[in-house]
């Protein structure tokens, strides 16, 4: 059972202008795995997420989720196929309440008949109540229930990151892509986040792919790590192996100690 990958990504890539942002990217994730994707800024990590979630269309290769091809599907179809993501630069619906943010994601699995909504049929009222109940349950993952009615934009930064994860979970994904969930957290919060990520994986029985800058966090929780540099996979393997890989040390670990400066420059570099 576990031999067949849940998510199989074979040789995807994209060029922007003449520049290969990502090329020859392979990733096979078994069910309930927790993998990491690391690399220096501008290495193409977020671009990989954008390729998987259909924001960009891959120009080569193929992606399969439980054997079903994902290539060419628009982003919303990929989400309903079972891949959810968070965003590096938080993209909550700021004017909507915390609860509504989660309900929006939750309703993906509901029928949402528009005629039913307009006549307020029993089925649609029941559905709405179920969406609300489930959303409130999900907010408990991060103790956000108490703030359910506040506008999302009024949450503190850390809570916004958590809400992004809750929102992604609400789409009932099979694979969850987390883009720098620990950004801006202190070490205590990071340790808590590591536990939460494991707990999410176990409770929701998901495969999780994590982009993260904090090496300690990645090494601690990820079973396998893929390292990107300039869009090319330079190493892939369990954390112990990655830690001693000379190419990785050269490309990544050597510059990893001034994170603050990197984050500044990442905005432009990552999106070329």
């Amino acid at each position: 059972m576990s031999s067949a990958p849940l998510l199989a990504i074979n040789d995807i890539g994209i060029r922007f202008g003449g520049l290969a942002a990502v090329q020859d990217f392979f990733l096979h994730m078994p069910p309930r795995s927790l993998y990491g994707l690391i690399g220096p800024n501008g290495a193409g990590k977020t671009t990989v997420f954008n390729l998987i979630t259909g924001v960009y269309q891959t120009q080569t290769g193929a992606m399969l989720l439980e054997g079903q091809p994902l290539g060419g599907l628009p982003p919303h179809r990929i989400t309903s196929a079972g891949i959810a993501r968070t965003f590096q630069n938080i993209r909550l619906f700021g004017d909507l309440s915390v609860l509504d943010n989660v309900m929006l994601a939750c309703q993906l699995r509901a029928k949402n008949r528009i005629a039913g909504t307009l006549v307020r049929s029993r089925a649609s009222v029941g559905e709405e109540a179920a969406i609300r109940m489930r959303s409130l349950e999900l907010l408990d993952v991060f103790d956000l229930r108490a703030r359910a009615d506040e506008p999302a934009q009024s949450l503190p930064y850390g809570h916004q990151r958590q809400l992004e994860i809750v929102r992604a979970l609400a789409t009932e994904p099979k694979v969850l892509l987390l883009d720098e969930p620990a950004a801006g957290m202190n070490s205590g919060e990071k340790r808590q986040l590591a536990q939460t990520i494991r707990r999410i994986r176990d409770e929701f029985q998901l495969a999780i792919l994590l982009i993260e800058h904090d090496m300690e966090l990645v090494m601690e929780i990820c079973e396998r790590i893929t390292v990107l540099d300039h869009g090319v996979t330079i190493a892939s393997g369990p954390p112990e192996q990655i830690q001693c890989d000379p190419k990785v040390i050269e490309a990544y670990l050597g510059v990893a100690d001034d994170e603050g400066a990197e984050e500044q420059s990442s905005k432009g570099a990552e999106e070329k």
């Binding site: 977020t46 954008n50 924001v55 965003f87 999106e271």
Partner: protein, 318 residues
């Protein structure tokens, strides 16, 4: 053949007018990213101020507007441009500057408010009133060139009038000056920097407020010139709130979009394209639908290449 050339000639003159107006739309959009709906009203002001100067100021100076010396027209033009650029400056400072950080829709509504204000102030008897008026012809509209085509009996004439030539040359000169200003001067570099990224530009020490004001003043001056030239070509001026002005502005705006809104050269090309489509459509298909061709072209353009002929595509960041 004669009809064809005549249509080309009209297209060039009308196109120059559209281009002048389109420049104002495109410059404001380039820098502040909003559609300045009040721009067409500046054209109206330009035309009516010219008329007032010609009918009231010139006689006081002892100049008969119907037999004015050659420089009188130029003086009226410059006076009108100066007046409108001051008005443009005041509007920008009072109505748009406080909204620099507001949602663009709000700025748009404010522009509509300004437009309504100008139209209705203009209708007051204190200013221009609600009656149409006739612009004195500062130029004798003598045909410069007359060519006969075809055989006798079925001959057609091609007439190139002085007014059209003056329109084309004046507009052309202004556009060349603007081109030099935007692409060849330090000030132009600052304008382009603000248009590209306002925040970075201000970090680089550019005084953004001054550049924005300047943009409005230049745009308004060009609009005033267009208004003056329009009054030369079509001396029967409608009252300031007439739909004909709104349509003139709308079509010039379409020209800016077709050329690629935010792009100065695009606006000029767009102006001539719109005029050609309108004039040729009116002459060869049916003049009832002249507005129709322009807006259909707009829709087609938006569907095929929404950023216009010379516009660049902006990649959405994720």
């Amino acid at each position: 053949m004669a009809e064809f050339l005549q249509t080309v000639e009209t297209s060039l003159a009308v196109g120059a007018l559209y281009a002048l107006i389109a420049l104002g739309y495109t410059m404001v959009y380039g820098i502040l990213k909003f559609i300045n709906f009040a721009h067409s009203d500046i054209v109206v002001l330009g035309a009516w101020i010219s008329l007032r100067i010609a009918t009231e100021v010139l006689p006081k100076l002892g100049i008969d507007p119907r037999a004015a010396p050659w420089w009188a027209g130029g003086a009226v033009l410059l006076a009108s441009m100066a007046a409108c650029s001051i008005i443009g400056f005041v509007i920008e400072r009072t109505c748009y500057k406080p909204l620099r950080r507001a949602p663009r829709l709000n700025v748009l509504i404010t522009a509509i408010g300004v437009s309504l204000l100008l139209q209705n102030l203009g209708q007051l008897d204190l200013f221009f009133g609600t009656q149409p008026a006739r612009m004195p012809s500062l130029l004798p509209n003598t045909p410069l060139v007359q060519w006969e085509f075809g055989t006798e009996g079925a001959s057609r004439r091609l007439v190139i009038g002085l007014v059209d030539v003056v329109i084309f040359l004046t507009a052309g000169t202004l556009m060349v000056l603007l081109e030099l200003l935007v692409y060849r001067s330090k000030l132009g570099a600052a304008m382009r920097a603000v248009s590209f990224n306002t925040e970075t530009a201000s970090l680089m020490g550019i005084n953004v407020d001054r550049i924005v004001s300047l943009t409005f003043m230049i745009g308004s001056a060009l609009a005033a010139a267009a208004g003056f030239l329009y009054a030369m070509k079509y001396p029967g001026l409608n009252q300031p709130a007439h739909t004909i002005w709104v349509l003139l502005g709308l079509k010039a705006f379409v020209a800016a979009v077709i050329g690629g809104i935010g792009n100065v050269r695009g606006a000029v090309i767009g102006g001539f394209v719109i005029a050609a489509v309108e004039q040729f459509g009116a002459f060869y298909i049916s003049s009832n639908y002249r507005d129709f061709y322009v807006f259909v072209l707009l829709i087609l353009m938006l569907l095929v290449r929404p950023t216009g002929l010379l516009g660049s595509t902006v990649k959405v960041k994720v």
